[in-house]
Symmetry: C2
Subunit: 480 residues, 2 copies
């Protein structure tokens, strides 16, 4: 299998957006979006573009500058990653949300599907575990397969207030003190705010190696800062390629012309689908195992940015599109029935890979069974694309809209492009919807209620407990 | 970690359904479902129950009898599984859709989270790989971590016409002939129709060990037949427990009283949510890593059964609910913002585990940081349930409906109960919607188009090619 981490191209190939199956030209008047509808929004799209451009690098748009302002940081990331690669056989990320989804997505995209199961020589880096849940059995299960003494733990939380991650920190720091004793701090790296919160001072006090999550970079936009760069570099991924890809896509988004800026076109069409056509579901359907968790990463970006209940002018709304993660061809056998014959409520985004890292021929055989023998002499490469085309055609016949993001191949550069495409698209869509795409106030209630249940002594939580006591208790008659 | 596969209980505990957060008693008139609304449907629910009862074991409801009519089959499964466990170190399932999702779900529920990475002695069975996609890199990647000579391949397709699975068969049979030579057939088990299709005669001709997918058991309902039983038994799972659990839940579904039959109550409430309230999204939110892929399994069952475009009376409709798979607590950090502040278009189903297989204490520490120190002395067990309650409360405060399926613990018996609960619920919901819940005509178009693209010489596909040529070609102006 070609080692795609080493692929460098002197003429990088652009990730392309194909929206033919969104448009009336292909889908027909009854089902599609007319180019005139897009033209109606061209000025609004240009305004959205201008607003994002004007806000670049400020407020919560610090992430736009990550492809350009991290030269020294990248050097430090590589240095620390090199040290980890040399001294540890396992790298465990303790993080959740963007701190986990980005690293997982990039690892799946760019490393071997069974990376952790490969022998060390073939693997090309320490094993990677991303611990993004606090299931009570999980830590024990991890300890069944790792040796703490040869493990480096990377604690990722901007505020140092993420209960899950800090509870994991308490557990592993205790284990390290017991297993390693003096010098246990060498097994911990912190990725957090420069100064604020709990983890920054803690890291300083303990002398942990630390990286900064820059201002203006929220969790779901953090993959191109050390949150993503460090785990990737530890696992041998070309982080320069990731950032170069992001910059490359950024250049493609310089224009405010809706038909020429892929992120802006995608945003405008999704706005029309959401707001004018009522399509409240967005299926992410990569036709490549490597892109399976890019779908999960997009799901957080899309759901958490656009699922809002107030506009910036203070108007009460309930906007957003539920992302549904899926995988081709697998989910043809699970979801396609619903997609083609269920409600008219969804848009499908295919991710197509033009050139895979391997050719998988299908040998001849089963001559007595023509429908099986037919497959002989073909390849999985041809089969997966034929099935993708078949699914696209089935959606077309059923009047269901789809668009396709085309990756020439999966490498660090194209993944960087993909990340930036979606981040920009999200920013533009937020502008069009006139919402704050960068906050997430809706998650506070759950946190406060959880801490109240746990008995946190703070005033805020005492008040929450009192409030929760007043809520209806529920009745045994509704339990079967 | 307690070996939950060995858990047998003389007094099995029932998986319960708690629908308090669906009802106006808790949610208020503005948001909830009134018990009177359920009463309005009580007769229809009883009729749905009667229809399913009358159809048991017939047509495509053969799956209802699987807990009762497989005594000999179970003996054979155990015998063959024992042979596999003794003679092979790896078991590879070649299957897709229900043939894959069921085995994956049960393996994740009942075996170690890092099963394949455990040393043999700790693992308690051969490694398991479920190859449910035809990504061109996937087979090569698998071959990087398995030895064909010590691998048993299980080919699962009722018709023997599943292109993905049969293409994989062509590949591995060729590899086995080369690597093993004479006697290679001992490395292959077929699970297929008794007589019809390609794989049944092929298995007979080659002398493969074979199991039958019984009549009346469709892919998404097949987990309790050899499709699921064999991989489970190979990996040391208590298949008698699975079947006993299914029977136990079946007994709870004997009554036609909507308030007393958990599957019927769930079906009726989902019907109201779908048809009366317009909730077209159904979030599956297990708060346990073990149940992560049960969510995927439910997604196929729910989407493929209920996503239909015609009633049984021939009325054109587009009905169905898009299932959105998620995981707690992880997706609080990804999707909860959308759930609480986005559109009012979804129902959330929590899966709660009362007793996990381990206690994970959180040690004391970080005294200088009160919000972190607060977690010390608690446990992940308390934290995960506090967060689940917190999320439930946040949804309640936001007027969003949820229900909770409560598992006393995760073991073969409760998983069997869970499987049967959802299968019965799906059957009842199909009755209420007056659709055929057991077919999937919508997937045929995609198959036919894929074969046409691949150049299949058959008449049907030549016609499809001609038809596809007439479709709009798409325009370069819509590619950015």
């Amino acid at each position: 299998m070609t080692d795609n981490r080493k692929i460098t191209s002197s003429s990088p190939q652009r990730v392309r957006l194909d929206v033919n199956h969104m448009m009336t030209d292909t889908m027909g008047m009854r089902y599609g979006i007319a180019p005139e509808q897009v033209e109606d929004y061209a000025k609004a799209a240009a305004a959205a573009h201008a607003a994002v451009q004007a806000a670049r690098g400020t407020g919560w748009l610090g992430w736009t500058e990550l492809p350009y302002n991290q030269k020294k940081i990248v050097e430090k990331v590589k240095k620390v990653a090199g040290h980890v690669r040399e001294h540890f056989d396992t790298f465990v990320v303790l993080g959740i949300g963007g701190s986990a989804l980005g690293p997982i997505a990039v690892q799946w995209a760019l490393n071997h599907p069974y990376y952790n199961q490969l022998p060390k020589a073939k693997r090309g880096g320490p094993r990677l575990y991303v611990e993004d849940n606090i299931d009570p059995e999980r830590m024990g299960a991890l300890l069944d397969v790792i040796e703490v003494q040869s493990t480096c733990f990377c604690v990722v939380t901007k505020s140092g207030n993420t209960a899950e991650t800090m509870s994991q920190y308490l557990i592993i720091s205790d284990l390290l003190k017991q297993a390693v004793g003096q010098g246990w701090q060498r097994h911990v790296i912190a990725i957090t705010d420069a100064e604020r919160g709990n983890l920054a001072p803690l890291a300083k006090a303990e002398g942990f190696e630390a990286f900064v999550i820059p201002d203006g970079v929220g969790g779901r936009f953090s993959e191109l800062c050390p949150v993503g760069l460090l785990p990737a570099a530890v696992c041998g991924i070309d982080i320069d390629g990731l950032l170069a890809g992001a910059a490359f896509m950024d250049a493609a988004c310089k224009t405010d012309r809706v038909w020429e800026n892929p992120a802006l076109l995608m945003a405008t069409l999704q706005y029309i689908a959401m707001e004018d056509m009522g399509f409240n579901v967005h299926v992410l359907l990569p036709y490549a195992d490597r892109l399976r968790f890019m779908a999960d990463w997009v799901c957080q970006l899309w759901a958490e940015s656009l699922g809002k209940n107030v506009t910036r002018r203070g108007m009460a709304i309930n906007v957003g599109q539920t992302p549904a993660k899926a995988l081709g061809v697998t989910d043809q056998h699970s979801q396609l029935q619903l997609y083609t014959e269920g409600p008219y409520d969804k848009v499908v985004t295919f991710f197509k890979v033009e050139k895979f890292q391997a050719e998988q021929p299908i040998p001849n055989g089963c001559k007595a069974y023509p429908d099986v023998a037919f497959l002989g002499g073909k390849s999985h490469n041809a089969l997966i694309e034929a099935e993708r085309k078949g699914t696209e055609y089935a959606l077309y016949r059923a009047g269901r809209l789809s668009q396709t993001i085309v990756l020439p191949e999966v490498n660090a550069h194209t993944i960087g492009q993909l990340i930036f495409l979606w981040e920009m698209c999200t920013a533009y869509t937020g502008e069009l919807l006139d919402i704050d795409a960068f906050n997430q106030p809706g998650v506070e209630e759950s946190k406060a209620a959880a801490y109240a249940v746990l008995g946190h002594p703070g005033e805020k939580y005492a008040a929450k407990r009192a409030e929760m006591k007043k809520a209806p208790a529920g009745s045994g008659k509704y339990v079967v």
